[in-house]
Amino acid sequence: VNEHLTCEACRALLMAYSAHQLEAPAVAAVEAHLASCDACQREVRAWRLMQHAMSQAEREIPTDTRADARWHAIATQLPDTPKKGIISMETVDRSDGVAPSSPSTPKRRWRWQGITSVAAVVAFLIASFAVFGVLHSTGPAGHASTIAPCTPQPQLHLFARYTSISKISLVSAQEGWAVGYQEDPAQQQPLQGMFWHYQDCQWQQFGATLPKVALLSVAMLGQDDGWATGVAFDNNGIHFDLEKPGYHFVQYHYTNHAWQPAALPNAGRYFIGGVAASGSDAWLVVESSLPQPFFTQPSQLFHYQDGAWQAITLPQQFATKTISSTSVTGPDDLWLIAEDYQSNVSTEFIARFHNAQWTYYPITDKPLLALTTLTMLSPTEGWAVGGAGNAGEVNQPPTTLYPYMLHFDGTTWQHVDIPDFDNLPVNASPTNPFTTTQLFDLSYAAPGNVWAVGNDGAGMKGQEAVAYHYTNGAWQRVKFPQFDGYSFQTVTMVSADEGWATGQQLAGSNGHTFYPAVIFHYANGQWSIDAQ
């Protein structure tokens, strides 16, 4: 696409632009033209206005309450004798026996001592975007409301097999959003960024896919206000590879019932590490500036308030720090984990930013390799989880790795034992690690009721979903024999009775591996697969 579009050429693209159906170079060309053309800007507004009107109209459609009865009506009309037909070979599943050349996330590559691989950190960052703040206005327990969790009909074919879900953010118990991307390197297909919308008790893909984009995070501020961030690749966009140049970062704003490309401070130059939201305001963590490799530059922080993003000047304490997780308990109360990227040993702190003042809580626990996620219930109550053990050789995975939990009681952060990992020795044989369990994400279901999720790399099928549940003052492991081969990555609890988790299934045969996305739903006291 010519970067210098005429008005006529630009207008020919504006409908597709407004529907997010253009590829990145065309988007760039259109936006370059729009920046200096008022007439075409008015044209875009006209298209978006119509799109908005369509969304309004669709929202007025009543809920479908007859799904089951209708299916029975259809089923009774099917002929008794099975219908035979011969399908052209073109229709045969092209993926039988075919697998991508490389697995999707998570890719475990170890960059330095500690448990902080690039992909793992991305996963942790994704996992850390606090949605709790959105729900906090009613309190997590209060959020349970009087509406019982619905029992959605599992959707077993919602995601293509190479789909990854990065993050879920709920607006309410009845509505939420998920973002992610689809990749298919074996077929040389470009990445496709995707939004999914949860309403009427069901997840559905929302809008068109975004070519060559991987969406990494989402945080909703309200029913018609939310932010999503991701990466757009400038090359052919087939591989999700953040270690090579040739990509820029993109942000989307949900408003007027549509996700629109949005400009943020220094947009395109920074990796947007995470968004934490609380009602009317949001916090944005910005990772290393380009073209530096990841996690070798200090993080930056932006605050969204009154409809605009403003940079927060970080104190000297953050000079060599990268922020790996954020949580908010309400407006003007941000908590975060800061990790030193220059040190081989963990020199971290948890910090609180409140009333323009920073409070630091140094974390010096010896076996701790890295903290990954924290979640705050209130300014005096929270949990953080990370990995501890034997760091192993440089650029090699740790030889021992086990979850390490910290609790904040209003004054200090203190280690709390969890079953299976109490009193583990820190020295283990490289060939015989004690455990490879990792916990990636935490979420409060109610005061005194917390879920932590992750995976165990020693599962029978290469990995096994792992969850720990904190109730009655203690952590307990919840076993999932039915989820052998699965992994949890994020968890977002609605109440003590309902919650959501994302993850992946390790699947494939004949040496081919792929990771289809999975959404898990917690209801009636148990986790089950809601969509995959």
């Binding site: 044209e43 119509m50 009107a53 459609i61 259809i74 219908k83 035979k84 009909q153």
Partner: protein, 182 residues
């Protein structure tokens, strides 16, 4: 290992009701909204359309040749059902006619009208069912202009010209709604 949608169509063609049920689970929400846009006050009509669409999928599965995406093919069937239903309800004239094509310059006051949501939806109501169907495929169901052309079985150029026509009609309707409100 999960079957993909093409495999499901293949299974439906071989008479497997369970595969049709899976397709129903997958496509019911989208098709409900697709039909509901036109019959939101008549859910019995939406029920009938959904039933007819899935029975048509059952009958036509063996003819699926795989040149199109499964979603495009299913919406093509749904479009035919919808066209038939709208034709029966409104008669040929209303269903087939677009609003008058008219190029309208977009004025600076447009931005102000963004917030007038009632006016906006009223303006949308004045588009023809066919125009709304096309916009729904593009905006709600994520089909490209090319896929929309396939579903509606019309040339790509016709989709584009109808799109501009719909947009102009929408802006014109919006203007008149604004004038009526002011």
């Amino acid at each position: 290992m999960l079957a993909d949608e093409r495999t499901l169509i293949q299974q439906v063609a071989h008479g497997e009701a369970a595969a049709l049920q899976t397709l129903y689970t997958l496509y019911r929400p989208r098709l409900f909204r697709y039909f509901g846009l036109h019959f939101r006050d008549d859910l019995d009509a939406v029920d009938d359309l959904l039933q007819e669409t899935f029975l048509a999928i059952w009958r036509a599965a063996a003819s699926f040749r795989g040149q199109a995406q499964v979603s495009t093919w299913i919406f093509q069937i749904a479009h035919n059902q919808l066209a038939h239903a709208l034709h029966k309800r409104h008669g040929r004239t209303t269903w087939l006619s677009d609003l008058e094509e008219h190029t309208l310059p977009v004025g600076a006051t447009l931005e102000e009208s963004v917030m007038a949501q009632l006016t906006v939806t009223d303006a949308l109501e004045r588009l023809s069912p066919k125009q709304r169907e096309m916009l729904s495929l593009l905006y709600h169901h994520g089909f490209s202009i090319e896929e929309t052309a396939q579903i509606l079985e019309i040339p790509v150029g016709t989709v584009k010209s109808r799109l501009h026509s719909a947009r102009n009609a929408f802006i014109r309707a919006l203007r008149s709604e604004e004038e009526a409100h002011s």
